[in-house]
Symmetry: C2
Subunit: 365 residues, 2 copies
């Protein structure tokens, strides 16, 4: 079954097509979109080798196809890589009406989307996310960007894709660790916004970790719909959209500190740990113990990998440059109960004290 969502935004409406066979279901529209134009395909050699053949019909519809390779993973989101894309787009004669497809995980849509957002002040792109994390989160919502050393996504732009095609067939080649990391984002959105989806995850988590495309499709569609609804109401994160940062404040710090140490954490795993930490801040503010226990237990069943031996100081240093910070400090998205949340200022002393206990507890396992 194919799920078709649509996300209205100031620049138009983005169709989001989800399911096993989503690409075939969208083929005619995509062919029209790139017909007679130069089509740039930004992907990694690995993704191209696994799934690249599925793009052949689009290539036939375009006037010509130019492949631009980027490395896999967060480490590719650098100034040097985006500069290489810009030069590649220019050298191949990219025009304002050229089209660009990102085909890969979240780092590919972040990096390729940022190149599309800024080349000639913006060309249209379509996101074809191939990982669970990208299908439920990274490729939706128009956030594109690159990292500066120690500061994830600190350079970027809001640039909505013209299409998002999340074909769950591509998930069948994902390693279990990537499914786990993607499911952490699904758990995130479910816990603060969608109690029914959360209950479904509690029932199905074991099977979902096996990567069956048909079982994953409705979960991806539900998570994408929840995110799209939030983005539609708040495209530039002026308010409500910050709910999507549940687990991300410490999560981003864990990712950045891991990169600095050469012990990178997957984004979803970092968010999983970040949610655990947020529970510590949320409990004294009224989160019912029962709800907290349900999230903890589901994360236990997800099986997060162990944390590197971070010190509180290195994480606090990274938190201090959080890009969502304002002059008055970092605001934390905390659950009030299953399905409800608030953005809360937490005093730095409390963050520090909880972090010391949290790291001691995590690392004693």
């Amino acid at each position: 079954m194919i799920h078709r969502l649509s996300l209205a935004h100031p620049g138009g409406t983005t169709p989001i097509v989800v399911g096993a066979g989503a690409l075939e279901a969208t083929r005619a529209e995509l062919e029209t979109w790139c017909a007679g134009r130069t089509l740039f395909v930004v992907s990694s050699p690995r993704v191209r080798a696994l799934h690249g053949a599925v793009l052949a019909p689009l290539g036939a519809a375009a006037a010509r196809v130019v492949d631009l390779d980027v490395p896999d993973g967060e480490a590719a989101k650098t100034v040097a890589e985006v500069a290489e894309l810009w030069h590649g787009l220019l050298a191949a004669g990219g025009k304002r009406d050229s089209r660009l497809i990102t085909f890969g995980g979240g780092s590919v849509s972040d990096l390729g989307g940022f190149a599309a957002a800024t080349f000639l002040r913006g060309i249209e792109f379509a996101a074809l996310p191939t990982t669970l994390l990208a299908q439920v989160d990274a490729a939706l919502g128009g956030k594109t960007g690159i990292d500066l050393p120690g500061a994830k996504n600190s350079v970027g732009a809001f640039h909505m894709p013209a299409f998002v095609v999340a074909d769950t067939a591509w998930l069948s080649t994902l390693p279990r660790a990537e499914l786990r990391a993607g499911l952490a984002e699904v758990i995130k959105v479910a816990f603060v916004l969608e109690p029914e989806l959360f209950a479904r995850l509690e029932r199905e988590i074991a099977g979902l970790l096996d990567g069956d495309p048909h079982r994953l499709a409705p979960i991806v569609a539900a998570a994408a719909a929840a995110k799209a609804a939030v983005v539609e109401r708040d495209p530039k994160e002026a308010g409500e959209r910050r709910v999507l940062n549940f687990g991300h404040t410490l999560g981003h710090a864990l990712e950045a500190a891991g990169l600095e140490r050469g012990e990178p954490l997957a984004h979803g795993d970092a968010v999983g740990w970040g949610m655990r930490f947020a529970l510590r801040l949320a409990s004294p503010r009224g989160l019912p113990a029962e709800d907290s226990a349900r999230l903890s237990e589901l994360l236990d069943r997800l099986g997060l990998p162990p944390l590197p031996q971070f010190t509180p100081e290195e994480l606090l240093a990274v938190l201090a440059r959080d890009k969502k910070a304002v002059e008055s400090g970092v605001r934390w998205v905390l659950p009030r109960r299953l399905g409800a949340w608030a953005a809360v200022e937490v005093a730095p002393d409390e963050v520090r004290a909880e972090l010391v206990e949290f790291l001691a507890a995590c690392q004693s396992h």
Copy 2:
């Protein structure tokens, strides 16, 4: 006299304040805007030395001021310079609610504005243009960006400044060559959109080239108002805004080819030559000889510097990668008569033939 315009756009309304004393007239608003925040001032050492003292009151209102230096001129609009700005913003603890001021010519607002557009996916900035060219053109309208080798403004973003303050007092230190280059842009907008302003330029051109701030103020205000009206109706250059590219198609090619050769042309001078070339394409399409003669004569009185010895081939090669090109070719903005224009496709053979004659004629002087 202070002229206050306002430009409504999808993200809000930008006040544009023009005149001798415009900064003092806007001071209270700017102080409120940066009060209690980190204020980044992107400028060049030269501009800082000439006029930097005027920013002291703003610095006092901000929580702190961080100066970020960039070189003067188009050659500074590189990936390396914007990366340095990004790193500088991050290293100094820039936040989403930090403020940025660009203080300098058009290259400073292009480069600094692009850093503001993309740092943390966009922070607010105010443009304080110090050259005539920037006051009437570059700093208005939200186009920001950098160059790739041989392709001006080929990377960038639309990011409207929160304020534009064009204090014509700053023009008193401008060399005559910079006044000339700025007046070329004023002539451009006047010829295709504002016949009364054009007639005024015909009367006053000699005095304006002397740089009197009070004489320049109403001219800057009229040119800025004409541009702002166009931008307001078409913020992202979907249609009407392309009128502002009159003289820019060949103009950009001249600039790019000049840079490649190490014989850079000022943007306004290149636009002046570009308008002369556009007259050649416009005349056989019905532009009255009388109107064409008036523009030629005014450009004569402006006194453009001689063109480098370009070959037709090198200019045609640059035209082929014009960023406004679409797959079907470059469209030229051509005057139909004084105060009216059209965007026209011109066959490549005709462009080539006219270019050969044009270069021969220009270079025989």
